[in-house]
Symmetry: C2
Subunit: 416 residues, 2 copies
């Protein structure tokens, strides 16, 4: 894409009220626009990143048997009353609204209830199980204080998967597969090295749930890492007897701040019982379905990548989620028609080779183009200028080394 | 995908309250689930169709220079007050809600206001124009009566594009390109032959707007078609002087019911003026940006296809939007291990050839499998049974002709 046509621009200044690195860089880089506290729009560059993260998650969820759906935002109170999660005193993050006839509606902040109700129309026999169902869908959460840029917002897309199995043992088996899939997601999104499967407190149906915590100074959570074993525990379960149970030793643990990028939770029959999601076994006996839930916020993953992978000049996107593979800069001065022609040629070759390229064809100074390129953070920078003499100066965003390459070599490098 | 693993099933009966063809067939076929009046969830088959329609629209919007974004649902009243569209007496379809601090918020029923406000941060010069920005985003509309299945709902994904240009002439030129792109969308989605560009009343800034109306008995609108010229006028503009102006003759016009599947509208400076979206021209003079808006509801397109393309047995999907290319039925009786093996082999070959296949591997009667296949409406049906004797019986959903083909011939036919 031609940068001259990209309506979103890098901004010199953005509101200071939110000093978080992710908000500053994503707004300045033209990835997102802040509509109000905790509410963001995704601009073309930001949406490209978000869609790549979503696609990684989708592939990993499909790989463990996930079936994709999209549920509704507008929520019928009746089904939430059955699980006692409608009352504002029980759940304090509801946004509520009303139909014309004055009937109450809620805006979904999660989807256990509507999906369980839905599944009760399709699951009746042991033959219908297991089922793993997921969606990418907007959640609304009436947070008292939105903060930390895209880390705590009032409206965001969430991938939520729910598992439906016959027994706790089947749940356990899928739960471990889901945990692996989650680690795959974070590894593919470029934060695998700093993301820890973290024991957290469970609920009625299991001793523990699992969080996925990315170690980062901007984190709101405190975790205790065993770097060797690559696991962690969160503050809730940092107790001698639990550590012993987990085979962890206090002296091997390191306290760190972290961002929760995902969590998985055994629900048991917490929702299937009150909502009547039952199955009949081989002997004709009825049982409540055993459930689990598995959440990731792609926007939060995006913000976490920025927190973890940026430097003083801007963002450093991993190749897997970068908005484009390469940033082509044409350094055309006033009398550089030759450079203009040359960079147009390179642009066309890259497009023809199926390479995702952002082409800075703007009338702007070299300094401005370099600064914008560092801020936007595309993994490869390819410069065509008078100095490059028919070649292209190629540099990775995260190194200072440059080398001169031919167009052919450029394509070959990027195709790898 | 194996049908035995698809959690959504065809249903014998669905609620009678909504007798519309699209609701009946989409619910019975397992494409959608009705959560409440005017609120639907998309099940795996339905989401596949919806995503294909979305991808067609996306390609056509990109082809005319559209840049994709996603805006917010939660709306700040302040910007809507500036255009006088906050007051419930002016706009009667708002869903409204409140922040914890009791401040009002709305749920976006359209996005002229927030996008215009957003663009005012990126557009300041004539050099920043034109810009064409679109999204696929959920709209909330507090309809007094939701009806006709997916045709009039309270929550739905809409593709809305907005154009930002310097002059009415530039708007006019883009508007015509957008109208062409819309006709491409409906043609590609399989309803081009019955969809008419339809003159409708305009507003302050133009005499006409354009609707795209699909002729269909289930339609809520009445239009007057000139079948030869392939244009229509709606009821509002069915007047002698207007017809004369349009070069239409009452005697060539045919009254018909139709579904509005899209509409495009010249906004002029209706939103840019009150929201301060201005640009500076070459002489340094400031002008309000000239805007247009362009909407399609992919879910409504899906419902319209069902209304127009179904028969007494079920849906007949066009190949471009079908959930799968081929429905493979293995008619395995109790002692048909050979048929089971053979159909598994065909399934694997289709998958390996990159063909999207739904494989009915369930333990069910031939009659049930045939009936489900007709209901679901995948364009090709491929049957492996004792009778087909090592070959495959291939049939299109919309004909009765069958022929026996080899696996190789099957792949070749579907690859076309």
């Amino acid at each position: 894409m031609r940068q001259s046509q990209l309506f979103s621009k890098t901004l010199k200044n953005v509101a200071k009220e939110d000093q978080s690195i992710n908000a500053q860089l994503l707004e300045r880089g033209g990835f997102v626009y802040k509509n109000m506290a905790g509410v963001y729009s995704f601009l073309p560059l930001g949406l490209r990143v978000l869609q790549k993260i979503i696609q990684i998650i989708r592939e990993e969820m499909n790989a463990i048997g996930g079936q994709e759906v999209t549920l509704n935002s507008l929520q019928d109170p009746e089904i939430w009353k059955k699980t006692d999660r409608w009352n504002d005193e029980k759940v304090d993050i509801w946004f509520k609204t009303k139909l014309k006839n004055n009937a109450d509606l809620g805006l979904g902040y999660t989807h256990e209830e509507p999906l369980t109700e839905l599944m009760s129309h399709y699951i009746s026999s042991h033959k219908d199980l297991p089922a793993y169902v997921y969606q990418f869908q907007t959640k609304f959460r009436n947070e008292l204080r939105a903060k930390s840029g895209l880390l705590r917002v009032r409206e965001f897309v969430m991938k939520d998967l729910y598992s439906f199995t016959k027994t706790p043992e089947e749940l356990e088996a899928f739960y471990e597969k889901a945990a692996e899939a989650y680690l795959n997601v974070f590894r593919r999104a470029g934060i695998g090295d700093v993301t820890y499967r973290t024991f957290a407190s469970g609920g009625v149906f299991s001793k523990f749930s699992d969080e996925f915590q990315t170690v980062c100074k901007a984190g709101e959570d405190v975790v205790y890492l065993d770097r060797k074993k690559k696991i962690a525990v969160n503050k809730e379960v940092y107790e001698d007897d639990i550590l012993e149970e987990l085979g962890l030793n206090k002296k091997d643990l390191e306290e760190a701040k972290a961002i929760e990028v995902g969590n998985i939770f055994k629900l048991g029959t917490r929702f299937s019982e009150p909502l009547g999601l039952l199955y009949t076994d081989e002997q004709g006996k009825r049982h409540p379905v055993v459930m689990g839930s598995y959440g990731i916020g792609p926007g939060r993953v995006m913000a976490t990548i920025v927190e973890v992978r940026s430097d003083e000049k801007g963002i450093v996107w991993p190749e897997s989620v970068a908005p484009f593979q390469v940033h082509l800069l044409g350094l055309t001065g006033k009398d550089d028609q030759a450079v203009g022609k040359e960079s147009e040629k390179v642009y066309k070759t890259l497009l023809d080779s199926g390479i995702e390229v952002l082409y800075d064809d703007r009338q702007a100074s070299a300094g401005e183009k370099f600064a914008d390129s560092d801020l936007i953070g595309i993994p490869w920078r390819a410069v065509v200028s008078k100095k490059t003499d028919g070649k292209i100066e190629l540099k990775k965003r995260n190194t200072d080394k440059t080398k001169l390459v031919s167009t052919q070599e450029l394509v070959k490098t990027l195709k790898k």
